[in-house]
Amino acid sequence: MTLLRVENLSKEFGGIHAVSELSFVINPGTIHSIIGPNGAGKTTLFNLITGVYTPSLGAILFDDKSTAGKAPYELAKRGMSRTFQNLQIFFNMTAIENVMVGRHLHLDRRFLPSLLRLPGIAKSDALAREKSAELMRFVGLEAYLDADADAMPYGALKRLEIARALAAEPKLLLLDEPAAGLNATESREIDEVIVKVAQSGVTVVLVEHDMKMVMGISDHILVLDYGKKLAEGTPAEVRNNPAVVAAYLGGAHA
């Protein structure tokens, strides 16, 4: 049983092969890391999986169903959620409202009841607020419960995106460089959050440059280089793979 199956996936941007002929599977309940040098196609791969980009070739199966032609919001309905390398925070809202937007799919969002603010809407909003506060505490944002998003530091915004993604209760959570720009202590805290998320049964796919984090928490690692699969396996296997060492050290002297 696989949660995500990528088959022969390619994406071209005007002759540049950002991702080419890539195949791999992701099993449920694991932490799966995707690593590779800058420009290896990691973020492009995330955008393909989540429906932000359309593949040039190949197929992506989520829960054994094709994702072809599906918009990101439709894939979100099927249980996919993500964060972004370049923050996509709603800076015009408060921190907790950002997380509440993550609850969107689980709330009564019919037009007329919202317009008239029927008792059900007020009640479910109060619950969503509680649940969102809980998630903010879970990712270590208890200090920002009353903050506006535009008044928060970078590290806190990274966590806010994770809380928002978790609020959607995804089966598959894709994290694009959650530790980028964080100091060592903050990185370790994010580590813990990711491990806790995985333990709660969510499958995590991680793009990350922090090798200490990747090697420490991943069950499985996929190494990309120039859009192609360079290696795949457990952290120990990948660490000892000559091709990986060569790509990272920039030579064939491994």
């Binding site: 919001y73 709603f90 937007v101 969002r109 919202s114 809407i121």
Partner: protein, 312 residues
Amino acid sequence: MKGVSRWAGLGALAVFLAVLPQALPNNYYVDIAVLAGFNAIICVGLNLLIGYAGQISLGHAGFFGLGAYCSAVLVTHHGWPPVLALLAGAILVGLIAFAIARPILKLKGHYLAMATLGIGIIISIVINTEAGITGGPDGIAAGPFTLGGFTLQGERDWYWVVAGLLLLTIWLATNLVDSPVGRALRALHGSEVGAEVVGVDTTRYKVMVFVVSAVIASVAGSLFAHYVPQLTPTKADFFKSIELVTMVVFGGMASTFGALVGAAFLTTLPQFLTVFEDYEPIILGGIMMGTMIFMPRGLVPTIAAFIQRRRS
């Protein structure tokens, strides 16, 4: 807590609207208040689109005019009861807005501004040239608004109707903003892709808010047609659209009460500057520029932030 402040704002406004007529010395001032009320209703709706969802429209006077002319034509030429004509206008405008929203809202920024501008101008041209139906530049008289043997007469009657409708519109708008629907609208303003990946169908919400704001403008237009003795095409033209956007921007984007204040202020101001009548567009442009440069968030949010800073 938020619920309390919402009712407090609405309550304060209700009290203000209730005592305002006593403070107005004669019907000339009541007339200004009614006109400000009409503008405020449109602006509260337009603010949902511009301020909350972050989409621009430079053609909303077109929807206002369409509603107004629909009422005027159906009532005078076809003898419809005003209420039915108003509903027909709202449905027609809703359908037109829905039909054009999908292609038009794929555009962003300047392109969206240009497209909505085009829609507004087309509506304005049709109203001007279809003289056989609309009366052309001379306009058309829709006659008084009647409902079941009851006729609205004089500025003071109208004042209460418009005040009531304004309160209702503000209540509905604040409800919507503070609901999952409203959060989705604000979220797609903040980051479209960020909203999409947590399940917000951004296209659908953009279409929805466009239609809602157009229908509100149409309803205001239908009533307006009966309020004025003669409905003329200038009420549906490009300049009126710009005036509406200026009211929203000046009062404060993403602030329902800001839209109200912006509409009230910019409706009232020209009445006291009648000596400068020829310069009205210049003054309006100056206010728009001054707002963008010195308080880009608009009057009400800027003052609110100032008070909050003073308190803490």
